[in-house]
Amino acid sequence: MTHKLCIASFDSPEDLLSATRAARESGRKIYDTYVPWPVHGLEEAMGVARSRLGVVCFMLGSLGVATALGFQLWVSTRSWPLNIGGKPFDALPALIPITFELMVLFAAVGTIIVFFIRSRLWPGAQPGIALEGATNDRFILALETNADDAEEIAGFVRDRGAAEVREVDLP
């Protein structure tokens, strides 16, 4: 039963990466890490699965294509067929620019919204754990602890170069 988080703050991304890797390999539960920039290799060190936003983006893009093509074709052939320049009503080459733009619009805006929801970010949201320096120059590892192993985990991160270790309650 998890009660608390052990917050270990490192000076460098390399220390954070090796500590994270070691924590994962020794079976400790990584709650999260907090870093000022996307540290290369963090994904692999934390053992996080590759993000599936790409799939979301692809599906939203397809939805954009379907919406744009469907609507334009419906308008041009059914709802308001208009002879323009003697071209056929369903003149595909003329429908492509808008189809493309809507594909990008749906995919980009939709993926951003999904990202915000998934990451629990919204205007006015409060940081889950407000940590000193995590947006400046500290590299922080948060490990889950319970009453029994708190001491041991603190020692574990200290051995791996943590400059500062403390405990906080789970948010």
Binding site: D32, V35, Q72, P97, V104, L105, P123, T135
Partner: protein, 471 residues
Amino acid sequence: MNPSATQALRPPLVDTPRTASQITDDICRPVEAMPTASWYVGFFASVTALCIGAVLVTHEIATGIGTWGLNSTVGWAWDITNFVFWVGIGHAGTLISAILFLFRQKWRTAVNRSAEAMTIFAVMCAGIFPLIHMGRPWLAFWMFPYPNTRGPLWINFRSPLVWDVFAISTYLTVSACFWYIGLLPDLATVRDRARNRVRKFIYGIMSFGWDGSGRTWIRYEMLYLLLAGLATPLVVSVHTVVSFDFATALVPGWHSTIFPPYFVAGAIFSGFAMVLTLMIIARRVMRFENYVTLRHLDAMCKITLVTSLIVALAYAHEAFFAWYSGNNYESFLAINRMRGPFAPEYLVMVTCNVLIPQLLWSKRVRTSPLIIFFISIAINIGMWLERFVIIVISLHRDFLPSSWADYSPTYVEVGTLLGSFGLFFTCFFLFCRVLPMIAIAEVKSVAATPGSGEVASATIIDATPGEGEKP
């Protein structure tokens, strides 16, 4: 990887090595300090220009577009020139933020934030012109397909002008989102540094509760990659669609299949000139010389030179094929450009866009901010004239000699252009004040030295810590 070998191959991204927290201090300083005198001067000059523009636009809307120098032969002139000019300016921002990201060009981190801001402000300026050109801008919503009681009467999806509406509005939306996504981590940095509560509250809302979570960062990187992948074809499509406004027509000088890529190259060309103009001023005024170094200017000058050459190649194609086609109207247009009433504009255009940028072949020129500044101004003028040449010269002597006409702008048109510059710079000055002008997190990721001030050369160059461990 052998760090010393890498260092010999690529110059460092900052002049003086800085630690992560020093970078934060440097970049946040202008946002946190009181503005300097030069900022006030610049800002009020811009607001004045904006006000002049606003007054003249109000006058134009109240009176009608008869206040412009247009006539029934030259129905598009100053306004559409400004529209194409401003849309083009925006393209460099997306190129830096998206295309150079895909090409893994790390130097982009120093300029991408302000270039993207420039994109958004430029597209806003661009949007004004078709709007006021409508004469009745309060009916602008007619451009969008919405259910209505007139049929429903839909817009014509086969019209390039409608494509433009979709392209420009998508571009503005996606650029703004992309920009904001990039800003999130930096807004959180500003929030965490804020001393007073109002500031903390405002930046707290704006930063969406960003806490630097590794899981979020991992998703964020994927999102950034996807957005870059989407923005890249988007930016190409925008000026392509703008070029379709002309190229689908039968007007000589407009109907040319080379227009789409040629317009895109020209847009990037003019956009980079504007980025150079702005960054040369900003790096000095904001004291960012350590981040936007001479090497950054050098790299941007090279892109400017490449796009100048593409534009020159397109000019050559147009002139050659005008003769080669054997089409009387095309050859007349080519001659009318070079020797007609607007020949001075054409010659200045060629000088500014093709001849002057050739100076950039010299490394000494590419690393002299003052010379680059003047070259970039010349390119801005040249690219504005390019759109004027394309639009006005093709129209003013059309197929029917009896309808040939002249065109000269009125004070209202000139003042509106001034106003659009006012809007652009007002936005830019505000941006410098309230948002970090350089992407803090991104610059740190490629240029920060380890925490305690001790300098390790490998990380200046390479964004991939961890590789240093290998033998």
